[in-house]
Amino acid sequence: MLSRLSAGVLKNAASSGAKKTALGARSSVRYASSNASASTVDAILSSRATLASASLLSVGTIAWYTHLYGTIPFVGEVHASHLSDEGLHPPSYPWSHKGILDTFDHASIRRGYQVYREVCAACHSLNRIAWRNLVGVSHTSDEARVMAEEHEYTDGPNGEGEMFQRPGKLADYMPNPYPNEEAARAGNAGALPPDLSLIVKARHGGADYIFSLLTGYIDPPAGVEIREGMNYNPFFPGGAISMARVLFDGIVEYDDGTPATTSQMAKDVVTFLNWAAEPEHDERKKLGIKAVIIFSTLTALSLYVKRFKWGPIKNRKIIYKPPTDH
């Protein structure tokens, strides 16, 4: 805003100044239109409005910068902690469901469920997903029923007031690996394995972060000490994570013949966990296509109708005809 103002002012000042000297040389007649300009420049440059707008522009720019980048421009910062304490930012991976029109890759969800069941489920619960949720997503109802029946659930009380064990049904939720949080902590050196139902939504970086974490285990760099029982992972905030690397090439054997490399298993299990966090994902994107089409059509229609209705009003010409004879 200020730059536009000053450029215009300079141009005006130059031209009107020249005009003024020419006029002054020829005659001493003063025209209000050509003469007030020199003082106009001064008036603009020293006016309160200019001061206020320049201050507002500076403050606004700094506020915008601070909002955008989190620091004040041109002022260095000193951190008490190292930036690695916030964890390495994960790269952006080309997920099969990344685009706004892309569904999940359901074959990948199926493989990912297998990885979860055979690897992750030893420590991590998934208690917001029931067996029935897998039906029509990654498994047929028969397969899901068989898988549910492999687990025992406590039900009851029966007629005698006793709790009893029964095989799982489709309506049962995924069983927890530990009976309670204390047992989970005791089994993992005090660290609680988080529930994985919503983990993709619950972590910054989402699927990219979890994939990076699962595949990012390395030896600690020189100077970084990791306590006994902890592991170094640059993507984990702080670097020291209680979970050890679990995915190694070939620990799972896929039914569909996909080679079970570390990154393939990580990709599949993250796709599965992303589905677990957003089961509505595919339907949501389809509804989004419909909504965009319908609403953009309605917007175009209403813009057209507005122009159509306002056309005569904007283009009319009101002519005053004074009375001719009196």
Partner: protein, 62 residues
Amino acid sequence: MALSTTFYNAFFRRNSVYVGTVFAGAFAFGIGFDLGVTKFYDTWNKGKQWKDIRQKYVQESE
């Protein structure tokens, strides 16, 4: 008789017919639009959805 007159007499002359046309049109558009979007969505995501891989896992007993 001009086409517009025929059109007017067929759909707009009686309010009951007009309202009926609007309702039937909305119903037909809803179905057609849904079919069209679903067709596009399934083509775009060919081979990724459950219905594309389902036949590999269903039992033959049906």
